[in-house]
Amino acid sequence: MMERKAALSAITGLGMTEFTRDYHKPSWQLAVDAIGLAIKDAGLEHSDVDGLLLNKSPLAELADFPMEMQDYAGLSNLSLLNVVEAEGSSMVQTIQQATMAIQTGMATKVVCVFADTPLQGDKSAGEAFAVAMPMMGHLGIEIANGFYTPIAAYAMAAQRYLAVHDRTTDDLGAVAISNRRWAELNDLAKLRKPLTIEQYCEAPFLIEPLRMLDCAYPVNGGIAVVVTGVEQAKESPQPPAYIYGMGQGHAGNINRRGHQPEIETGAKQAGEIAYKMAGINASDIDACQFYDAFSISTLINLELYGLCGAGQAGEFVRSGETSPGGKLPVNTGGGHLSGYYLQGATPVSEAVIQLRHQAGARQVSKLDHMLVTGYGGRMQFHAALIMGQQERVQ
């Protein structure tokens, strides 16, 4: 039995703007709104906040989400300020950096914020995301081959996974269905119509082996959280969502024999470090909020975070274990696929809602340890948190 560690920090404020498919205002303005909502939710004033960590969308220019966000949000008392750029792992990384700053005394109340507006009037989601994914490093040969959109990079990973483990796209469909079952219970989720495996299989391929139903559902919106020390959290009007462990894993993008960046990712390392810090094993995890821009990543993450054997995640998901009522609830708000795609902020927001016991019909009862993850790039950047409801004083 490992020694369970006391909490390192807590999320005490959560701010979420409306999530829309139409365009109302720019990302920075959504961020300002989310920051204000989070500070209020935490029972704080703007003048209390001494840290601001900005999670810029990889789709946005730095000028769209600059350090000056401090001024836009009316925060003039900061001892910590940075733009964290680690692609889809950024939001979890902002919370990790906030926790480290709080632990070392550099800051005490840190706001972490993400906002994005991929849908802008005449620009469709497909167009916004139709950039080439840099898989081959400096070679840059992707575009000459018509290798456009991140979907393709994850389709490469999916095909490799299915071939290595001799599985079919039914495993991917099982993930889409599990997410949809949770979304049916979530008023915030965007895709809530029941989904069957027959409907999934009838849907055309977009980039085989992925269908539209395997891809995240983009929205415009902003999400912010307030991270504080454990003592400070006791004054919070909301139940604190504690953080016990944190880890990162970046296994690189090595395209040669002996490496499989598609399916042997840094998630394993991120999980091992986070579990050890929290004093737990993978078997202690009660629920997961995975970053799931594509269905395939949930299968791979279930395995690499030690929750399923290699190649067994599809069966595990199909058996209902990750769905409502299952023994390991996963992406309990519908995730990115059926809920809302606000990159790493989606799993963080759902984690806080669940840990506060404010999830209504989709509330998970036992939540001693929740795994919350982010990943980015072609899945080579990973960050993880272990969260829970108790302070666990030592």
Binding site: E127, G140, I141, E142, A144, N145, G146, Y148, R257, E262
Partner: protein, 141 residues
């Protein structure tokens, strides 16, 4: 979709990758090799990921390999590829170890899967540029 009309897409070639593109013009597949540990590296690296050595030399690869993974585009995401849908983009693990990306062009009725053996071919895609593609080993050139 409102992309600019464009018939051929060609990357802006980085200096570190130039030997690879010059090789393609001569129908050669150029990869790199570490002069310290002899590891074969995919183009275009500055440092060997195996031993950290920065003395890498360009060598010609055999050009044959196996399909490591692939995708099939059932929809075009760029007008230059509208006429090609459906098309296959494969990652091929060359005999020497590095993996390269290229389209897999099939003859009618050919079956393929992860692990199928392929060879490299080249096609002139505009007046200045040759681009590699893959064919199943038993396909004629």
């Amino acid at each position: 979709m409102k992309f600019a009309e464009q018939s051929v897409v060609w990357p802006e070639i980085k200096e570190v990758a130039r030997p690879f593109y010059e090789g393609m013009q001569q129908h050669k597949i150029m990869i790199q090799q570490c002069s310290n540990c002899s590891t074969h590296l995919p183009p275009a690296q500055l440092v060997c990921d195996h031993c950290g050595c920065d003395d890498l030399t360009w060598i010609e690869a055999d050009g044959s390999g196996e399909i490591y993974t692939y995708v099939v585009y059932h929809r075009s995401f760029h007008p230059a590829f509208n006429d090609q849908v459906p098309y296959i983009v494969a990652l091929v693990e060359l005999k020497e170890g590095p993996r390269l990306m290229g389209q897999l062009k099939l003859k009618e009725g050919q079956a393929y899967k992860v692990g199928s053996t392929v060879v490299t071919r080249f096609q002139k895609i505009d007046k200045n540029n040759e681009l590699l593609y893959f064919q199943l080993e038993d396909g004629d050139g």
